[in-house]
């Protein structure tokens, strides 16, 4: 495959509160690829994902979409870039005063300037895609966590993003609701969406990830396919971390 990468991240650095949080992170993402970020809490996964959407302005480094460097200081190019890069948050961040349909259609109307009828038709299609066709009139407070996360996925998909960033999308969910959200994400991956996702759902990672980036203290310290990093014999830090994670989860009395 000689196709050029859809997203290139070059030497990204970010300090917050005087502390370096990201130190020279570089990697590139091919079209249709699923990249997974793994690593201890505080390792910089959320900060990296937010930098990738310029919700944090990187202190140094470049981000190229389709070979074009993005200049976040130019509002036009920033807003255009953000439309092409969808973001899913751990705590959903649905708009509390809008029902599911309006949550999905708002940006279509206000950013893409679609007429209301078209925007709602598109929003309905996206809600149906995540299995919520019958919930369009419900407000966030009336939805379960899994349903909220699926609405937020529909909201991002409605903008026709080329890349999706997902920050631990199932971490705030009750265990019985994780499956429905992962199913939607799996479908999305199969349909060819490019994704960068922080998650510790190891079953999902093993089966879906094209590449794992193991992050610690603001650096990518290991990088490779699940086969490379999670093989029982490989002795990777990733494997070590995941083993502890599994022990904690099976033995943990939460």
């Amino acid at each position: 495959m000689t196709e050029s990468p859809i997203l290139e991240i070059e030497n990204l650095s970010k300090a917050l509160g005087g502390k370096p949080i990201l130190s020279g992170v570089s990697f590139s993402v091919r079209r249709g690829e699923m990249k997974v970020l793994i690593g201890p809490s505080g390792g910089g996964k959320s900060t990296l994902l937010q930098c990738l959407n310029f919700l944090h302005l990187p202190d140094a480094g470049r981000i190229l979409l389709d070979g074009q460097a993005v200049d976040p200081r130019q509002r036009k190019s920033l807003y255009a870039y953000r439309q092409k890069v969808g973001m899913i948050f751990q705590d959903y961040n649905l708009f509390d005063h809008l029902n599911a349909l309006d949550n999905v259609s708002l940006a279509l109307r206000k950013v893409k300037r679609m007429p209301r009828a078209d925007a709602e038709a598109r929003a309905r299609a996206e809600l149906a895609r995540v299995g919520l066709a019958d919930k369009e009139r419900l407000y966030p407070a009336e939805l379960s966590g899994g349903q909220k996360q699926r609405v937020s996925i529909a909201r991002a998909l409605a903008m026709d993003p080329q890349v999706m960033l997902l920050d631990e999308p199932t971490a705030a969910l009750d265990p019985e609701l994780i499956g429905e959200v992962l199913t939607v994400i799996r479908e999305l991956a199969r349909s060819g969406m490019t994704m960068i996702m922080a998650t510790h759902q190891m079953g999902f990672v093993r089966s879906m990830a094209d590449e794992i980036l193991f992050m610690q203290e603001g650096r990518v310290i290991e990088q490779g396919t699940p086969e490379m990093l999670l093989d029982v014999e490989c002795g990777s830090r990733t494997l070590d971390f995941c083993t502890h994670l599994a022990e904690f989860e099976s033995g943990g009395g939460e």
Binding site: Y79, R82, M87, V111, R155, M159
Partner: protein, 226 residues
Amino acid sequence: MIQAVEVLIQAIPYLLGGAVLTVAAVAGGMLLGLLIGLPMAVAQVYGPRPLVWLVRTYVWFFRGVPILVLLFLFYFGLFQLFDWNIGALSASTLVLGMTSGAYQSQIFRGAIQSLAKGQFRAASALGLSDAQAVVHIVLPQALRLSLPGWSNEYSILLKDSALAFVLGATEIMARTQFVATRTYQHLALSLAACGIYFILTWVGVRALRLLERRVAVPGFGNQEAR
């Protein structure tokens, strides 16, 4: 006693005429306060330092000076100085509005700051500009949350409006005084004024409560807490 009733019956239409002026001053004041307070709240939360500082100064000034002093300062002082001849009622409305703007800005600011920050980030991530996020996400929620505080502000401003009487605006209090000094029925007329203020408060608060219910969103804000 009978005389008091007679005076009252004759005076009621006149007093109610005053009530119309009071309502005009308070409604105008609330509206002006909204127009001043809302942008100031947005500026205080999202604006650059100098703007935040400017808003803070404004708020401190209007909160720190008694309305009576402000009325004199503007009506006999500044408006005269600049040869701006507006009536006592208009002047009172302006001063009430500027004062209310200071208080309203703090009601709105509190509401904005109580909102979850994540929604703003989600809006940005979808490509909304900061201004669009404020208009479409922050304010619809903040305004809903502000309604109880706004209703409270209305009842306060209504009572403050009685001070317009000292400028010579012929609102409820002024008319009550005119009639009382002519007829010596101070008790009856004061009670009548009490009644009118009470009814105006009740109607306004009730109306805002209805509005609050009308715009309520399931599971959002304080409508289910009562």
